[in-house]
Amino acid sequence: MSKSNKNGMLIDYEYCTGCFSCTVACCQENGWEAPLSGMKVMEIVQDLPKDKAYLTFLPFPTELCVLCNHRTRQGLDPACVKHCMANCLTYGPLKELAGELEKKPRMVLWSPR
């Protein structure tokens, strides 16, 4: 029961800088009361050998994410995708986005609905 015609969101989290535009764009678009939002960003400080560390931000759609179907119906990008400062969110059919996945590491494809 694949959902190739289904749409999802590709996140190139290597470039996510944790600026929270997606979180607030979603609040504005869908009228969520703080602190709720359809998109949240996780800050992950990861230890690496020789006690180096690596800071990664990982945005992810929460339970409230409706993939902005009221926007996508009019051919617009979801509010978070449109406003992402690092342009690391892409919305589209899962089939296409999966194709993108192969091109570089540190990417993740979400199908939140």
Partner: protein, 111 residues
């Protein structure tokens, strides 16, 4: 290895961390050091004040997608032992049509 992907039906990730220890056992990684996969618990409140717990496995820079095991036709250690059976590993192009219709899923490339 980037044409491979890991599909997670994370709706049912219960946060039991079996994947973390399976990975550490597979590569003899000492405790305290980061393994190939890390599960983060996220407690968020929903509009009606209800709480919702989501666990999200993230594949870290240390993950090699168990290249050795895959070569012998075995599943990665975490996939094999996942208690909720929510990890599927494979080539990306045939993974994307395994994305469950109704439920939430993530498809990772290498960390």
């Amino acid at each position: 290895m980037s044409e491979y992907g890991m599909l997670i039906d994370y709706e049912y990730c219960t946060g039991c961390r079996t994947c973390e220890v399976a990975c550490k056992q597979e590569y003899g990684r000492p405790a305290g050091k980061v393994g190939g996969v890390e599960v983060t618990e996220y407690i968020h409140t929903l509009p009606n004040g209800k709480l919702f717990i989501t666990n999200i496995p993230t594949f870290t820079r240390a993950c090699v997608f168990c290249a050795g095991r895959v070569k012998q036709g075995l599943e990665p250690a975490c996939v094999k032992h996942c208690m909720a059976n929510i990890l599927t590993f494979g080539k990306i192009e045939d993974l994307h049509d395994k994305i469950p219709k109704k439920r939430k899923a993530i498809l990772w490339t290498k960390g």
